[in-house]
C-alpha cells in the first residue's frame, strides 16, 4: 500500500512539473501548448549533450554535476520556449484561439523530428545514472535519489508559486490572465510578461526532462508526447490555470495510475485514470481548485 502511494507520488511529481508549464501558458494565453511535452524532450537531450561535452563525471559527484547540468538545461529550454512563442504563437495572438493549436502541433512535429534528424531515431542512454540502493521506509522501497529528485521538484514548484503569488512579475502574469487588454492599458508590457512566462514554464519542463533522463536512463525523440498528454490531463484535473491545483492534479494522476494498475492490471490503467477523470469532471466541472469561468472556443 505505502509502496503504491510512493510510486504514485514519485511519478506524479514529474507530471506536476511538466503540467505547471501547461498551466502557466494556458493562464496567460489560453493556449494549449502541445509542444510543451517536446520541450521536456529537448531538456533531456540538452542535458545529454552537456554531459557528453563535459566528458566523464567522477563517481560520487553525480548529484552535484547533475544539478549544474540542470541549471544549464533550464536556461536552454527556457530560451527555446521564448523563441517558440516569438515565432509560432505571438503573430497569431489576434487569430481564433484554435489557430494557435495548429502552430502548436506543427511546432511539436518540428521539434520531435528535428531532434530525430540531429540525434537519430534510436534511444540514447544517459552517461550519468542515479541508481543507488533502496531503503525501506514504512514498507515502501525508497532510494536517496528518488528523494533528491522529489525535493528538487518540490523546490522548483514552491519557487514558482512564490514568484507568481508574491512578486510584481507574478502579479503582472495574473493580471494578464484575467484580462490582457486592460493589463496593457495599465502599463504592463504584455509581450515581455508572456515571454517570461514561456521561459519559466519551458525551463521547468526542461528540468523535468533532465531529471527523467538521469533517473530512468533512456531518452528518445518521442519521449515528450505521452507525458505531454499526461501533463495536460493533470493540469485539467487540478483546474487549468491554477498553480497549486496543477501540482495537486499531477500527484493525483500519479496516484490514480498507481492504484489503477494495482486494482485492474496494467492494461486497464489508463481506462481507469481517464474514467475517474471523466466522472470527477462531471461532478466538479472546474477541476480541483479551478474557478468557475465563462469563455468560449
Amino acid at each position: 500500500m505505502s509502496q503504491l502511494i510512493w510510486n504514485g507520488l514519485f511519478v506524479g511529481s514529474f507530471y506536476a512539473l511538466v503540467a505547471l508549464g501547461y498551466t502557466m501558458v494556458y493562464g496567460v494565453m489560453k493556449l494549449l501548448n502541445f509542444a510543451h511535452g517536446d520541450l521536456y524532450m529537448l531538456g533531456a537531450f540538452t542535458g545529454f549533450a552537456v554531459l557528453g561535452a563535459a566528458g566523464g563525471v567522477p563517481p560520487g559527484m553525480a548529484l552535484p554535476a547533475l544539478l549544474g547540468v540542470l541549471v544549464v538545461t533550464m536556461a536552454v529550454t527556457g530560451l527555446a520556449g521564448v523563441a517558440l512563442e516569438r515565432v509560432a504563437y505571438r503573430p497569431l495572438r489576434a487569430a481564433p484561439r484554435l489557430s494557435l493549436l495548429i502552430t502548436a502541433v506543427g511546432a511539436s512535429f518540428a521539434l520531435e523530428y528535428g531532434m530525430r534528424a540531429v540525434a537519430g531515431a534510436e534511444p540514447r542512454v544517459y552517461p550519468v545514472r542515479l541508481g543507488g540502493s533502496a531503503a525501506e521506509v514504512l514498507g515502501a522501497r525508497i532510494t536517496v535519489q528518488q528523494i533528491a529528485l522529489v525535493v528538487v521538484a518540490v523546490l522548483l514548484m514552491t519557487g514558482l508559486n512564490l514568484l507568481v503569488t508574491r512578486t510584481r512579475e507574478g502579479r503582472a502574469m495574473r493580471a494578464i490572465a484575467l484580462d490582457p487588454r486592460t493589463s496593457a492599458l495599465m502599463g504592463i508590457n504584455v509581450d515581455a510578461v508572456i515571454s517570461r512566462t514561456f521561459f519559466l514554464g519551458s525551463a521547468l519542463a526542461g528540468a523535468a526532462g533532465v531529471m527523467a533522463g538521469a533517473y530512468y536512463g533512456k531518452i528518445d525523440f518521442l519521449m515528450g508526447f505521452l507525458i505531454g498528454l499526461k501533463a495536460f490531463t493533470a493540469a485539467v484535473i487540478g483546474g487549468i490555470g491554477n498553480i497549486p491545483g496543477t501540482m495537486l492534479g499531477g500527484l493525483l494522476l500519479g496516484l490514480l495510475e498507481s492504484f489503477g494498475t494495482w486494482w485492474l492490471g496494467g492494461q486497464w490503467r489508463d481506462v481507469f485514470a481517464f474514467g475517474v477523470l471523466i466522472l470527477f469532471l462531471t461532478v466538479r466541472p472546474t477541476g480541483l481548485l479551478g474557478e468557475r469561468v465563462t469563455e468560449r472556443v
Binding site: F10, V11, Y113, R116, A121, D220, W262
Partner: protein
Amino acid sequence: MGESRLATIWSLAAAVTILTAGCGQGLLGGGQEGGDQGPIALGMLVPQSGSEAAVGPYMRNAAQFAVDEINGKGGVLGRKLELKVADDACDAQTAVAGAGKLVTEGVVVSVGGYCSGATLPTLPVFGKAGIPMIIPAANSQELVDQHLGHVFLINGTGTQQAAAAMAWITKQGATKVALMHDNTSYSKDIAVRTKKLLDEPGGPETAILEAVTPKESDYSANITNVLGAKPDFVYWTGYFQEGGLITRQLRQAGYKDAIMVGDGSVSGKLAEIAGPEAAEGVYATMTQTPETLQGAGNWIEAYTKKFGSPPGPYSNQSYDAVRLAAEALKNAGSTDGTKVIAALEAINGFPMFSGPLKFTADHTLSAGGFQILVIRSGRFVLQDALK
C-alpha cells in the same frame, strides 16, 4: 470576376493538369510494365517515423547491406538489385499507401514488414499485384491464419518462441513465472502462448500476466504488481526499450531471481539502458544471430564499418530476407510472382542465420531455431542452444 470566367479558369487549369500529368498512368492509359531492363526492385516497408521509428534503420541498413553484397557478385538474373524503402510508421493507413507506392514503383518481391498491425492490411495490396512477400520480422498468428499463398514468414513464430521459453523455464527449475507484455499483438501473443504452456498441469505455473503501456519511463506500478505475486522468474516479451527499463526497475525494487526477455529485446541497447549490473545474467529467447554464430564476426564487423553502428533487432532477418529473395529469383529464372512463389516453396536447406531454411505448409519456418542467450558484460552471448 464573373462566374463564367471563373469556370473557364478552372477548366483551363484542369485541362493543363490532365495534359501535363496524363502520360498513361490514368484509367485510359495502357498498362505499362517496368520492363525487363534495369535493376530488379525489392520493396521494403519499415517504420521510419512514429513510435517504432528506431527499428527502421536496423532493418533498412541490413537489407541494403545484402543488396550491395549481391550486386558486388554480379546481381541476379544478370541484373542488379535495387532496394526501395517506404515508411509504414507502424500505422495501417500509412502502410497501405506505402505498399501501393512500392507496387507502383514496380517492386517484384516485398522484403519488409515489422509491425503486425501495419503489415496485415498490406497483404491484399501485394497479393492483388501478385507480389510475393518475405516478411522478416512481423510474425503474429493472424498473418499465418489467412493462408495466403504469397506470404512467407522468416521470423520464428510466437508458438516456437513460447516453447523455447518454456523449455528454459523448466530447465531452470523455476516454479512461479511472471509474464510481462506490452499489449502489442507480437508481445501479447508470446506471453499468452507461454501462459498456455505454463497452465498445463505439473511443472511451473503462472504467477501473473501483466501488461504495461509502451513508451513510458516509469514501470514501478507494474513492477509492484509483479513482485506482489512473488515470482522466481520474470519473462518480458516486448521490445528492448521497455525491456531495459523494466530490468533496471525490477532490480532496483529488490528482485533477485531470473529475468528473461523475448527476441524483440535482444539488442545491446537493453544492457545499456538497464545499466551493466542490472543487465548481467538476463536471459533471452532468440533465433540464431550473428553474435552467436561461429564465424559471423566478420559480418558484424563489415556491417558496423559500413553503417557506423552495429546491427540491431531484426537486422539479420532483413539481411536474410533479401538473400532469400535473390535466391528465389535466381531459381525461378524470372521476376514473375507465381514462379517466385513456387521457387520459395521449393527452397530446401538455404543457409540463413536461423539455420537451413525450409518452409512449412503455412509458409513459416519449419524450425524456429530459438536458443537461449544471456548477457555477459553488456553483450548477449549463447547460453544454451536447446538442442
